[in-house]
């Protein structure tokens, strides 16, 4: 039985690509670069969005920060009881946390204090408190993120770390374990220790906390609770989870906007090639179409062959581009490009882009490239193929 797919057309198409090897190579290289760039951007975007959403979802509904002349100031832990008295509030925690600058490596760590018998505002912290004994005043210990561990190991701190307190003295804290949270973004730069130890490092009195997080059981009541809190603390910054989400996403979108400019330039190059193709075939290509028509090829036959030709080169280039982007983003962690997107990277000792395979992204890049190129090849071929063969060969 005769095959429906005409293998001779495919053979002819491969030959045609090889015949114009320099031109085909140029198109393939541009195509691979564009696909690689576009796919890398989408892969990084997807990974960061996944991380951000996971991080943001684990945040409390409301955050209260005391300010003095609009500058962040410590808050009194006694305020927690007042907040718990507000209807709709299911829990409130005074957090002790802050950034610690590790000069040797030039990175910031986020120190978070926990207390064994308190309700934790995050599941990940509850797991740590349940697993590790961090409250031993004689031998304070901490659980660190994998990025922190790498940074410390670079300075040969493998079992403990000496924090420099505000009075210049050292505070030795043992490393009890490595933090294993759901998201890398959240945990990578994090150090979890007892509140007592954290207060000692930050020189913070026992009656003070960095801020207070508030949980609201019913999401519909967040606005009401927020209004009550604003009445109670008119001098404080009260931030909702949604405010944080918008703020995070704005930073992210701004950064990706910078990249958009670079992308538009690449796209422009691509369209120049397409314009060149649409504007006409070379005299050699025209003559070839004329010969094929004279030998009995129909317009459809010529278009099918041209389809195979353009599909082979574009799909091959697309596949290479996507493959390279996967390796670049997920194996090599997108050097150079990643920093454009992660605006607050100076706070992160390192950041692993998680593998998020979004089929929609692959389809989007495919439809933004392959069909456009195929159309750009078919349109001029169709124009020539519909002319009299005699006229084309003349």
């Amino acid at each position: 039985m005769k095959s429906k797919i005409n293998i001779y057309f495919i053979e002819f198409a491969i030959n045609a690509i090889l015949r114009q090897k320099y031109k085909s190579l140029f198109i393939a290289v541009v195509f691979v670069l564009l696909t690689f760039l576009l796919t890398s951007v989408f892969f990084i975007t997807n990974s960061i969005k996944y991380e951000l959403n996971s991080t943001l979802d684990s945040l409390p509904e409301i955050l209260i920060q005391k300010t003095k002349a609009q500058r962040h100031d410590d808050i009194n832990v006694a305020e927690v009881d007042k907040i718990l008295a507000i209807e709709g509030v299911s829990d409130a925690n005074a957090r002790v946390w802050g950034y610690y600058y590790f000069e040797n490596i030039g990175v910031y760590f986020s120190i978070v204090g926990v207390e064994r018998f308190e309700n934790q505002y995050k599941n990940s912290l509850s797991k740590i408190v349940d697993t590790y004994e961090l409250d031993d005043a004689k031998n304070p210990s901490m659980v660190i993120g994998s990025g922190v561990q790498k940074s410390m190991q670079k300075s040969y701190y493998k079992e403990y770390f000496n924090f420099i307190k505000s009075d210049g003295t050292l505070k030795k804290v043992s490393i009890a374990g490595v933090f294993d949270a759901d998201t890398n973004l959240e945990s990578n730069d994090m150090i979890v220790m007892s509140k007592e130890t954290a207060r000692e490092i930050f020189h913070m009195p026992e009656s003070s906390a960095t801020d207070i997080v508030v949980k609201v059981a019913n999401p519909n009541e967040v606005a009401t609770v927020l209004a009550k809190l604003k009445l109670l603390y008119p001098e404080s910054r009260i931030i909702t989870k949604n405010d944080l989400k918008v703020s995070y996403q704005n930073i992210f979108n701004y950064k990706s906007g910078l990249f958009l400019a670079l992308f538009v330039i690449s796209l422009f190059t691509f369209f120049i090639i397409i314009y060149d193709k649409v504007s006409g075939l070379s005299s050699e290509e025209k003559r070839e179409v004329g010969i094929l028509k004279a030998l009995g090829w129909r317009v459809d036959d010529i278009l099918v062959e041209k389809f195979y030709e353009s599909f082979l080169i574009s799909f091959f280039s697309y596949s290479i581009g996507v493959g390279l982007a996967m390796a670049f983003v997920y194996i090599f962690q997108a050097p150079l490009l990643r920093d454009i997107f992660i605006g607050y990277s100076e706070l992160k000792p390192s950041f692993e882009l998680p593998f998020v395979l979004d089929v929609q992204t692959l389809f989007l890049v495919f439809f933004l490239s392959v069909p456009i190129y195929i159309a750009a090849t078919l349109i001029p071929s169709w124009r020539i193929a519909t002319l009299d063969a005699d006229e084309v060969m003349r």
Partner: protein, 223 residues
């Protein structure tokens, strides 16, 4: 049977200027005939071949081949007609230089998607008849003029067409190769093919197997 009925063909040189390639030409060629159209360049010989092969359409008049009005065929049907009925040997051979001999000869069969065995059988037959089997895998651009012409003839015959049209077939050949080509035509004639040759090469004049010689001048037949 091929019939040209009152054919006029105008080519536009510019928006206001045109050239009359054929002027009210009528001609009938019977099956199995060998006709030589002779005349100077620009006399309209190639235009007649082009119209018979439905490569172009007449400005007025009608071309009928085996009862089929080929001048009225749509573009796609004209292609099918050429594929099934016409073997065209072009003046410059019109081969694709970067394809091999085998690939060039195969070109008319490609749209038919034949079984590999059938395609190979047809290829082997024509390559043997025209003595180019030993060059099957050579790129056409690396062949001599005579070899290229044999490839063009093999390609024109691979579909076993009833009509062979040859446009200045010896224009790029020396006398020895031209005589060799004439012998090939004699063989094709023996296969009862209808052959029309457009040429101004005197080697084609007064050949014993040629049925008719028709002189052309300024787009008209000198009958």
């Amino acid at each position: 049977m091929i019939e040209l009925k009152n054919i006029t063909k105008l080519y536009a040189l510019s928006k206001v200027d045109e050239v009359r390639a054929l002027d009210d030409v009528s001609l009938t060629v019977k099956e199995g005939e060998v006709v030589v159209l002779k005349g100077a360049s620009g006399s309209g010989k190639s235009t007649i071949l082009s119209l018979i092969a439905a490569l172009s359409k007449p400005t007025s008049g009608e071309v009928v081949v085996d009862g089929k009005k080929v001048s009225k065929l749509s573009d796609n049907f004209a292609s099918i007609f050429r594929r099934d009925s016409i073997g065209f040997i072009f003046q410059k051979y019109n081969l694709i230089p970067s394809l091999s001999v085998r690939e060039n000869i195969l070109l008319p069969l490609v749209p038919l998607n034949p079984h590999a065995k059938d395609a190979q059988k047809k290829l082997s037959e024509v390559m043997e008849i025209f003595h180019i089997t030993h060059k099957a895998d050579t790129l056409v651009k690396n062949l001599s003029g005579g070899e290229q012409q044999r490839v063009a003839i093999a390609r024109a015959n691979v579909n076993n067409p009833k009509i062979i049209l040859a446009d200045e077939p010896t224009a790029n050949l020396d006398e020895k190769l031209s005589l060799s080509f004439i012998e090939i035509l004699r063989e094709l004639k023996s296969l009862n093919k209808t052959i029309i040759i457009a040429t101004h090469d005197p080697l084609f004049f007064n050949l014993d197997f040629v049925t008719r010689e028709i002189a052309m001048h300024n787009g008209t037949l000198q009958l």
